[in-house]
Symmetry: C3
Subunit: 346 residues, 3 copies
C-alpha cells in the first residue's frame, strides 16, 4: 500500500468526490478560514469535556477547523505512522532483529516532548514481521539508565524461558545488558511485543510494538488488498493511535472497492471502542485466531491486551471519520484530538 | 405495546402473581411502610458507594423502600419513556423529519434541572423510525445560542457529504442556521443520531436519539411480539436509561410468553453491562447486523457507541430487576438509583 | 484436582522443566537474592503506575524479585484459594446450605486487615455447587450489625419471590433475621450469589461467591480434566483473585496435556481483561450458556456481572503468567501485585 497524498489540494479533490452536487459540504473544507483567536489545541493529554463557556460559537468553530486543517496539511508527512518496520538480518536461517531500549523524549504531534521509553527510538517501536514457522531471534539491548526491563511476546506461544517475565522465566535485563529471545513463530496473526517489567509504567511510557506473523496459507484468511495496524494507547502523549494524537495521525487511503485489513492492538489501560463511519467492519480474528463466524459491526470494543482484526471494504467514496467512541478520547471544546483519524476512499 | 399500569395497587397485583403461596415475599411489597426519616435520594449524579455510617439499618431500609415505592407509583406516568417517536411528513415520497436543537433544562426525574442540549426538547431526542429503502430527509435547525452543531447518523452508510463531521463533510450548523440531511436508509436495525461537533460535551448533554430502520423482510430477524429501546447514558442527569434515573425509569410490561426485542444503545462515556434477572437474553444483532450465531447471556456489556439487540422471552411471571451491573451506577446507601428498571411479566 | 506443590524447591524443579538447556533463564528463579532495602509491597489497594524516581534499578529489581519469591514460597499454603466449598445437608431430597453474613476483617494477603462483609467468614464466600435439577435451599442468616441484606442468585432463573431484590421480591433480611431461599437449579454452568441490598457497598466489601450448577449430561460441554474458579474483584483488599492479591494468589498446577476449565466471574466495578501467557483460551460459555461457536483468544475481557468459561490445554511445560492486562491492576514500581497468578505446567 503505497498510495500517498502529498498535499491538501489533493485531499480537497478527494473530498470533492463525495461532494459532487453538494456544494456546501464539499466547499466547507476549502472555505476561507476565519481568523482564529486561539491557537489549535495541541495538548493531547487533556480529555476535556469541559465547555469553554467564554468561547463564542465562531471561536469554537475556528478551533475545530484549524485542527482539521492541520490534519489535512499533515497527510503524507509521516511515513512511519503505518510504515515503521524493522528489517531482519538472515543469520543461518534465523530472522534476527535488534531492539534497543532507551529513554527518549516523544512528541505525540503537538510539539510537547514527553518523557518516554522506546524501542529503537520510536513509540510504538518498529513492527516486527515474520512468517509462520520462521525461526526468530530478537536481541534486546537495554540502554536505559533508570530501569531494568524484559520483553514479552504477547500472543506468541514461546518456550517458557523466552516468555519475558522477570524472576519467573528470566532475570531482568539490567541497564547496559542484553538478552536474546529465540523461538519459532507459531501463532499467526496480530501479536505484540512489550515490556513485562514494571510494565504499568514501561508500557504506558512506550515500550511496545506490533509483532505480526504472516500466515503461510493465505487462503485461510478473508481476502484483502492492503493492511494497516492501529496501536491504541492512553499513556505517553495522551490518547494516541500509533503514538500520535489527532491532528498528527494519518488517514488510511484506499481505492474504491479496496479491501482493507485493520489490526487493532490495545496497549493502553482503558477500553477503546473504535467507530468507523460509513463503512462496516467485518470482525474476523480475536488475538490472532480466526473466528469461526465473522460478524459485522461499526463500533468494535478493544480492551487492553486484546487484538482484533477486521476487514473494511471501501464501498463508498469519501472521507470517513474513524475514532474512539469514548468521546472525550476524541474531541474537546478545542476540536478533535487524540484517537481520531479517517479512511479516505477515492 | 400499550399495556400500562395505572397504580401501585395494580403493580402489587402483578407482583402477587409471582408470590402465590409465598406470603412473606409477596407481602413485602404491600407491607406498611415505616416512617422514613430521610427523603429518598434524588441526586442521580452521585455514584456513592460510600457507606452511610450513621444510618441505622432501619433508616437505610426505609430509604431503599421509599425509592422502590416511587418507582411503583410512577409506573405508567411517563408515556414518552418508551414512546417518544417523531412522525414524518411524507413529501413527494421522502420521509421528512424536523429536528430543532436547543438549550434546555432537563430533569432526569428527581426535580434537579440540569443544563442540557436537546433535540426537540427531550433527552434523548425523539426516535426517528423508517423502513429499509426509505428516502429520508432530516432538517436540523440549530436554535442553540452558544454552540454550532452537526448531526451524525451513527450506523447508517450515508453519502459522505451527509455524514455530519464539521470541516470534513460539511460546515458546522451555526446558531440560527439549518442543515438538511438526505439519504436512503440502507442499514437495517438499531442506529443512532447524535451530535458530531464538540461531541464530548454535546452528546453527554443530550444531543442524541435512536434512529431505527425496520427491515422489509421481517423473517430474517428472530420473531418478537414487542420492542423497546434503552438508551444508556452517563452524562446529563447522571446514570440514565432513556434520560431518566431510577426511580423515574419505566418498566417493560409483558404478558407471559411474550417475546420482547430490546435495543440497547450506549451514548455515554462508560461501558454499561446490563444484567436482567430471571430471564435470559438472546443476543442476535451487533450495531444492526444480525450475528451469524446468536448466543445467550444474562449480562451484556455495551460499550460507548455500540448497539446490541436481544430477544427476551417472558417465560416466568414476576417483577424482574434489570440494571447496569457496575453496581455504583445502580445503587447507593440511599437506595437504587440511576440505571435500574424492571421487566414485569404478568 | 488435588495436585499441590509443597515447597519452593519443587517449584524450581517445575520451572526447570522449561529451562532445560537455557541456564540463565532457569537459574534466575533459584539465583541468590540480593539484599532488599525495601520490603515487598503489600498494599494491594494502590494502583501505582507512578515511577519510583529515587529507586535504583537494583532496588526496583529486588522488590520485584521479593514479590515473586513470596508467591513461590506461598504455593500450596492456601488450600481455600481454589477449594473453599460448602457441603450441603441432604434434607428430604433438598440440598440445604447455611450461609451467615457477618462483618469481618479481611486480609487480602499482605497483613492489612480491611473492613469486610463476608458469607461464612471468607471473601469470596464458599462455593455452592449443585447438579442440574437439584432442589436447593439456602438459609441466609444476617449476623451483621450495621446493615440489612438480601441474596440474589445471579444467573439462576428462580421463582420471582426467590430473586433477592428488597422491596420488589422480599423484605430485606434485617440484622439478626434469616431468610430461606428455595428453588430448583435450572441454569447449568457458572452463576454467582451475592448481595442485592446496598450492593455497591455490600458486594465490593465481600458479600459474594460462586454458585455452580453441574450439567447432568457432561457430553454437552467440551471435555476437561480439572476446573478452577477465578472471582475477579476490585473492592475490599484492592485488586484480587478469589479474595487475594499477588503474591498471595495461588497458581493452577497442571500436568502436560491436561485440559483445564476456568470459570471467570467478575464481582467488581471494573472490567478485567485476563491475559494468559503461552496457552490459548478456548472461550465456550457466556454466563453459563454454551456458545454456538467457541473461539480462541489469549486476553478475555470480563465485565462486571459476567461469567465466561474457557478451556486451556496445558500443551507446553513452564510457569505461565496469568494476569489482568489493565497493567496497573497487576504491577507497580514495587513489583507485581493484585490480579496476577500463573498456570504451572509440569
Amino acid at each position: 500500500m503505497d498510495v500517498k497524498l502529498k498535499s491538501r489540494r489533493e485531499f480537497i479533490k478527494l473530498a470533492g468526490i463525495a461532494g459532487i452536487g453538494l456544494g456546501a459540504a464539499a466547499c466547507a473544507v476549502a472555505a476561507p478560514v476565519a481568523p482564529s483567536p486561539t491557537p489549535a489545541h495541541d495538548d493531547h493529554s487533556a480529555a476535556a469535556a469541559t465547555p469553554e463557556v467564554t468561547a463564542t460559537p465562531v471561536d469554537m468553530d475556528a478551533m475545530h477547523e484549524a485542527g482539521v486543517k492541520k490534519y489535512l496539511d499533515n497527510i503524507g508527512k509521516d511515513a512511519k505512522f503505518y510504515g515503521n518496520k524493522l528489517d531482519p538480518k538472515n543469520v543461518d536461517g534465523v530472522k534476527e532483529f535488534n531492539i534497543t531500549c532507551s529513554e527518549i523524549k516523544w512528541d505525540a504531534g503537538g510539539g510537547a516532548m514527553a518523557d518516554a521509553m522506546a524501542y529503537n527510538g520510536t513509540v510504538p517501536g518498529p513492527e516486527i514481521r515474520v512468517t509462520e514457522g520462521d525461526k526468530v531471534r530478537v536481541i534486546v539491548k537495554n540502554d536505559m539508565k533508570a530501569q531494568s526491563t524484559a520483553v514479552h511476546f504477547h500472543g506468541q506461544a514461546v518456550p517458557n524461558n523466552m516468555d519475558g517475565v522477570p524472576f519467573i522465566t528470566q532475570p531482568p535485563i539490567k541497564p547496559g545488558e542484553s538478552f536474546t529471545y529465540e523461538f519459532t513463530a507459531k501463532n499467526v496473526g496480530s501479536s505484540m511485543y512489550h515490556s513485562h517489567h514494571n510494565a504499568a509504567e514501561q508500557v504506558t511510557r512506550g515500550l511496545l510494538g506490533a509483532f505480526i506473523v504472516d500466515r503461510k496459507d493465505k487462503s485461510k484468511d478473508p481476502a484483502y488488498d492492503s493492511e494497516y495496524t492501529l496501536i491504541l494507547n492512553d499513556g505517553v502523549g495522551g490518547f494516541t493511535l500509533n503514538g500520535k494524537g489527532f491532528p498528527y495521525t494519518q488517514p488510511i487511503i484506499a481505492k474504491l472497492g479496496e479491501k482493507i485489513r485493520i489490526r487493532y492492538m490495545n496497549e493502553g489501560l482503558m477500553i477503546h471502542p473504535m467507530h468507523l463511519h460509513g463503512l462496516e467492519q467485518l470482525v474476523f480474528a480475536a488475538d490472532g485466531w480466526n473466528l469461526p463466524n465473522p460478524y459485522y459491526c461499526d463500533t468494535l470494543n478493544i480492551a487492553p491486551g486484546q487484538r482484533w482484526d477486521v476487514i473494511v471494504t471501501a464501498h463508498t467514496a469519501g472521507v470517513w471519520a474513524f475514532h474512539c467512541h469514548i468521546l472525550n478520547h476524541a474531541e474537546s471544546a478545542h476540536g478533535m484530538f487524540g484517537m481520531v483519524t479517517a479512511i479516505v476512499v477515492k
